[in-house]
């Protein structure tokens, strides 16, 4: 049996606290939000990794006296 997802709500005017089951729409929205966030996080991590790789490549070429690509030059001077 799957556990029922709930939310906790406190009414600040009365102090009343209630535990309310999530609606099917709320559950679907949370699942969509989680999937979207995972995709955004993966994209952000991939971009950070690509930038680090580009910097490493630019540094290696500078040390070796090799010509840099425009992309590699950009990460050094921008």
């Amino acid at each position: 049996m799957s556990e029922t997802l709930t939310k906790v709500v406190v009414n600040c005017a009365t102090g009343e606290q209630s535990v309310v089951p999530l609606t099917a729409e709320e559950i679907a929205q949370r699942e969509a939000d989680a999937a979207a966030f995972a995709a955004e996080q993966a994209a952000r991590e991939a971009a950070a990794e690509a930038l680090a790789d580009l910097k490493a490549s630019a540094k290696a070429k500078l040390i070796a006296g090799e010509p840099l690509t425009a992309e590699e030059a950009d990460v050094l001077v921008l």
């Binding site: 906790v8 535990v19 989680a34 966030f37």
Partner: protein
């Protein structure tokens, strides 16, 4: 001089998807929320803020650091609602994240800004910490604040959130 007055505290007795403060009194100058949280998700989770039931019209700028790098980014998609980090289920036993979120001038007729200061808490080198600036581009006074988790997790028992009113004289 400013006084910090506790309005309400939530301590979870069981796992919960979200935490909400509703019918927030309108008699203070600013609001402050302190959150101590841990997620059921295995990866470090992110705290998402929802104002007056709205998940739209948000923007964020985040500065972060962890065990190996530091950086910054502008939130995109639902990452725009960023309000801090949450310790993962794989974090050291009984460790909960610490987050403060400040909402200045919450009753005004202007767009609402907020700032956060957060650390994921873990007895390891890979813990995340960050500060952020958020904007909710709506002019309605803030009457409710909800916290959700971006990741697939839920808040575990003993997760705590306290709402304070800040009164300036």
């Amino acid at each position: 001089m400013a006084n910090m007055i506790p309005i309400s505290t939530i301590v979870l007795a069981s796992t919960s998807a979200t935490i909400s403060f509703t019918s927030i009194p309108q008699g203070y100058t600013d609001l402050l929320v302190k959150v101590s949280a841990r997620s059921t998700a295995g990866n470090g989770s992110y705290l998402a803020v929802i104002i007056n039931g709205s998940s739209t019209s948000f923007n964020s700028r985040v500065l972060y650091g962890n065990g190996s790098s530091a950086g910054s980014y502008a939130g995109s998609g639902n990452d725009r609602q960023y309000a801090g980090y949450i310790s993962a289920s794989t974090s050291s036993t009984s460790m909960f994240s610490n987050t403060e979120i400040y909402f200045p001038d919450y009753t005004s007729a202007n767009n609402k800004s907020f700032s956060s200061d957060s650390v994921g808490e873990n007895n390891a080198t890979g813990v995340e910490m960050g500060i952020s600036a958020g904007l909710w581009s709506q002019t309605a006074p803030i009457t409710s604040i909800t916290f959700d988790i971006f990741d697939a997790g839920d808040f575990v028992p003993y997760t705590t959130a306290t709402l304070y009113g800040i009164r300036k004289y």
